[in-house]
């Protein structure tokens, strides 16, 4: 019968699963372990025979994975797997190793019968990533000293109104100033990102008014706004509750988004910053009247080192939005973009409110 033909002989299927380099665990629909292969037993330092029949949480004790399993079970396998798989840090045979954990629904005859967990060794990627982060951090530090003398020298020349500095000389000096500023931004972003990846940035949460954050965020951009004669509209309703965030980092997101908006908005254009309360979260939007972003890139632009070509970008390391995403997600929020070509772009992100209703500290 066709039905039986599709199935591997049970003995062979077991041998295949046991021989996989990936750790594999199968649970039933009560989150009880029904199968565990050799590699998974090694990863979690378990006796395979003893762990079969135990609840996943009791045997493995990983709450976050257990939550994912429960979510799959309670939704009948309808919940989507998370975009970013979890990475587990475990010690196997005295050595630190990293495993990427993925949980999928186990479906038979269109019904959920359990879950399958797959653990892939990503230790070498993690190590390479750590070395890269250290390298990036070191290089960014080293760049700051020469950048300091460049910034000081060119700004002193420009501010001093040197009589020899006119026409082409002035334009060249201005070019040095602009690009020194760009390099400063890049170095700062690289450093922030490498530190965030390394988990070195601590979150200091406090209650803050969104209007105050916006005000602080646009201070460093006032010259750029003026230079391109861009109209900035700020629409923040009275009575919007305070957000509970790391104020410096959340403000940085706004500065970054508005900075991007300025770069892509033509002269005399318009940028709107707005905020509203929805589902106990504050939604903040930064909308520009620039060239827009093709829907193909709407997710990709939040990945690190991503640049969308041919849209008049003034060039960056492709880190600003990746950092913004890390910060938003560290607050338990989401960030996304709505845009069509030639219709501007709207970046929107969510921030948590202080449910205790604690008011911001007034100086």
């Amino acid at each position: 019968m066709a039905h039986h033909k599709r199935r591997l002989p049970v003995v062979l299927a077991d041998a295949v699963l046991q021989s996989l380099p990936e750790g594999t665990i199968v649970t039933d629909a009560t989150a009880t372990i029904r199968f565990i292969n050799k590699r998974a037993a090694e990863i979690f330092d378990l006796n395979p025979a003893e762990s079969i029949g135990q609840l996943f949480e009791a045997a493995i004790g990983n709450h976050s994975l257990n939550r994912t399993i429960q979510k799959i079970i309670t939704t009948g396998g309808q919940c989507l797997p998370e975009a970013v798989p979890k990475t587990l840090n475990v010690t196997v045979d005295g050595k630190e190793r990293y495993y990427k954990a993925e949980v999928s629904p186990l479906v038979e005859e269109e019904a959920l019968v359990g879950t399958v967990l797959l653990f892939t060794d990503v230790t070498h990627y993690e190590r390479a990533d750590r070395i890269k982060n250290q390298f990036v951090a070191t290089v960014s530090h080293e760049f700051r000293n020469p950048l300091t003398s460049i910034v000081l020298a060119i700004e002193l020349l420009l501010a001093g109104g040197q009589p020899d500095l006119r026409g082409e000389s002035l334009a060249l000096a201005q070019a040095i100033s602009d690009d020194a500023e760009r390099l400063t931004r890049l170095v700062g972003n690289l450093l922030n990102f490498s530190r965030m990846e390394a988990g070195e940035i601590k979150m200091e949460l406090e209650s803050v008014w969104v209007a105050e954050m916006v005000e602080t965020a646009i201070i460093p951009l006032s010259l750029q706004l003026k230079a391109k004669n861009i109209k900035l509209k700020i629409l923040i309703p009275d009575g919007l509750p305070a957000v509970y965030v790391d104020a410096t980092k959340a403000t940085w997101i706004l500065t970054n988004l508005v900075g991007n908006a300025i770069r892509y908005t033509p002269e005399d254009g318009e940028i709107t910053i707005s905020a509203c309360l929805k589902e106990k979260k504050v939604f903040v939007s930064v909308c520009d009247s620039g060239p827009g972003i093709h829907p193909r890139y709407h997710e990709k632009i939040f990945e690190k080192y991503t640049q969308v070509k041919g849209n008049g970008s003034s060039g960056g390391a492709g880190l600003g939005l990746a950092i913004a995403k890390e910060i938003v997600e560290a607050h338990g929020g989401k960030i996304w973009v709505k845009s069509d070509l030639n219709k501007g772009a709207c970046f929107r992100f969510t921030l948590p409110i202080n449910e205790q209703g604690e008011l911001p500290y007034e100086e």
Partner: protein, 124 residues
């Protein structure tokens, strides 16, 4: 009377930029090339304020700051730390040791002058 600033910095191009920036703002400038040199010049030059780099040969900035704050004759001179190492723990360490303020490199001339003016005004 002109305020005198002691700049402690080993990068000669930064020394050039900062010196011109401060002199054009009407401040007097003395320069020390490392932490040990700074401790000597604190005694001889008696500055009103110190601009202190952190990563330097011989005696680094944090050690120099600590020594300065441990000495009764120099402990009240305000110190602004200038550093490429703009990490939170460095800022915190410098502030704990008694720095009046902290500037991350790179900075613009007007930013540096604004911080110097503010720290000098607070000291009055």
């Amino acid at each position: 009377m002109k305020n005198k600033i002691l700049l402690v910095e080993d990068e000669k191009n930064i020394v050039l930029g900062v010196t011109i920036c401060l002199r054009s703002a009407g401040l007097d400038v003395a320069v020390a090339e490392d932490g040990a040199d700074a401790l000597r010049k604190l005694e001889t030059d008696k500055p009103d304020l110190v601009l202190l780099d952190l990563v330097m040969p011989k005696l680094n900035g944090l050690d120099a700051l600590q020594a300065m704050k441990a000495n009764e004759t120099t402990r009240d001179i305000p110190v602004i730390v200038l550093s490429a190492r703009a990490q939170e723990e460095d800022i915190q360490r410098a502030m704990e040791l008694g720095a009046a303020d902290y500037m991350a490199k790179p900075f613009r001339p007007e930013e540096l002058l604004a911080v110097i003016r503010q720290v000098l005004a607070e000291g009055v």
